[in-house]
Subunit: 199 residues, 4 copies
DNA sequence: AATGAATGAGCGTTCATTCAT
DNA sequence: GATGAATGAACGCTCATTCAT
């Protein structure tokens, strides 16, 4: 569905994308009908299909946009950083901040995970995130900062902490992203246990 | 929908629960119709509504069963353990093992998370799990084994690691639960960084 | 869509087939909606899809039934006949009578011809009719009653005359099938021209 | 929808007519959307409705053009012919040649036959063709070349043979129009049976 | 306890047509 | 003359639920 759009057309399309993204995040994919979307915007049903080939396609586009946008933010955050552990940390902070700022897109990804149709996209996006993270872990291992082990397992663990804390504390309990990021980073770097005090 | 059931009735009911749980996990809630379920078992539609008031109710029951079952397993695993850090560890191991052994129930929980109707139940179950975990963390803090901080944040982080590693490594990549549990425990206890070697 | 049907179910199904066949014949395939059909019978929409997998499938079934029924009639009509020319004639008479008695099924075939989806079925049915007819022609040629030539072309010509006269004279102008059959047979056997009178 | 058209306008209009005629013939009336037509030509939707009041109107125009064109061809073919039987023959040959040369317009007529909206036009055109043919038959009867009978029935039979053989042999099996015309003429003039040889 | 049959609101999608620019 | 945008009724089809037997 590639169409030469006028300015007005582009505006309408963006309107649809934004509105639909919010509805999907709030009500889920199935419970958000195309009728809901167009009624919500006060336009005819044909408008939807003028801009999108299907409800599926729209959802995929929103999802892909969100994934792209988050990754771009992460990469900006670590661009000037040499130290792999600092890159890991900055990546986590960037993720938590972005996800906290776009809770509905975060919700969308959760949603997509459990919808066979979209699970592939999510998995692919996650693979990219894991690869990004694992790269830093490997570098840290190379310099001895991080002890040996499976860098992918570690990367997954970091992702698990980041996502879970963001959802539970930032999105659901409204805590401040920076504080949550501090906790997440501390947990990932040192774990639970007290460091044995060097005498 | 509480019915005095004959032995045969109970068997039928269990059959429905098991079959539906698998279908839900494989195809999702919406893509599994009541028709699918009864056809899959070769029975008439009336059977379904004889035992369950609605599709919703059945799903809730499956979900509640799964949550109960997992929690029971966790509590068995830590029953004989005094040390809070060991209890934390044993709880994680029990979870990973159980989730790895019942991947379809794990999938069901993911599913429920993103379905407004069931999200409440999932959240409630998660709250219980967090409280369970946080109790050990608090004890660890009391004894000084774990440095101060927000025990709930720590508990959420532990949950995030446990769930994410189980899904990514055990369910999706078929790694052995015990190995994954080792990695998860190590990550949670010590984090990423090498311990400064005491001279 | 094969279902174990009760007596009531079979009755309902037949009702749908009959009603739909008439509607299709009168209004065409596209102009007859599933809604029209179920409303016409005063039943809910689900009833239609309980008995048929799709509108397409129903149409195909009606078409196939009609083709089968006509052919059966033709074969009964020639069963006791040895002379190939008489078989040709009886076949034509049987067709004209049957088509005149079931004008709506005749219309359905015309309809299907120009609907890409069904054209294949019609063509296949026609091929059978041509083969049936050509067999008699070939026998007639073997015995010298019919001069040499392409038996298939002749068979097609016979079909063309039969169908066209039935539609134009019997269906559209209400002439008696027997009279039309006489004219059709005469035309096919002797053509237009007067036989040169043997002195 | 009568518009004073510039030269460019006339060209555009013809382009639409030609393109639409082919699409209709290939895909059918319903399966050819106005959108298909304008997209196929790379123009906007407005263009269509600038030249035609509706999709219906365009189809009717194409149909009328085809009917006119075929009839003109037939009349040219018999203009110089006095003998009614020869006129009959030449008319058939002209029809078969023209229909073979414009198979898509032939298809269009078949199409229109089974679409209530257009059936009237087709019937009217057929009535003209029958009248044309019947006139020759009547003259043949007057001169005794053709034995008495219903000239309309004969005319319909001739039409049936012509159309059916053209479709089955020329259009569908690619045989040469001249050969098919020979077969059609022979069949119509002499029928199937061998002439009794005059001793 | 269980069946086959029925309901009907709702879904995603299409498309002839109109309109503002 | 021509465009892209918009309309909205209608379509084929699904499905949770109910009902008569």
């Amino acid at each position: 569905m590639d169409r030469r759009l006028t300015r007005r057309g582009r505006a309408r399309r963006d309107q649809l994308v934004d509105f639909a993204a919010r509805r999907f995040a709030e009500n889920g994919y199935h419970s958000t009908s195309v009728t809901d979307i167009v009624n919500g915007l006060g336009v005819g049903k044909g408008v939807f299909y003028w801009y999108f080939a299907s409800k599926d396609e729209l959802f995929c586009e929103i999802l892909a946009d969100a994934q792209r946008s988050l990754r771009r933010r992460q990469q900006q955050a670590i661009a000037d950083e040499d130290d792999p552990v600092r890159r890991l940390e900055q990546g986590m902070r960037a993720s938590i901040t972005w996800l906290g700022a776009h809770p509905h897109l975060f919700a969308l990804v959760q949603l997509a995970t459990s919808e066979e149709r979209f699970a592939g996209m999510v998995r692919a996006g996650e693979d990219v995130a894991v690869a990004d993270t694992a790269r830093h872990v490997k570098e840290g291992m190379a310099t001895g900062r991080i002890p040996g082990g499976d860098p992918f397992a570690v990367a997954h663990a970091v992702l698990g902490v980041t996502n879970h804390l963001t959802r539970a504390l930032v999105v659901e309990r409204g805590e401040k992203p920076d504080d949550v990021a501090d906790a997440a980073v501390a947990f990932c770097l040192h774990g639970i246990l007290a460091r044995p005090t060097t005498p």
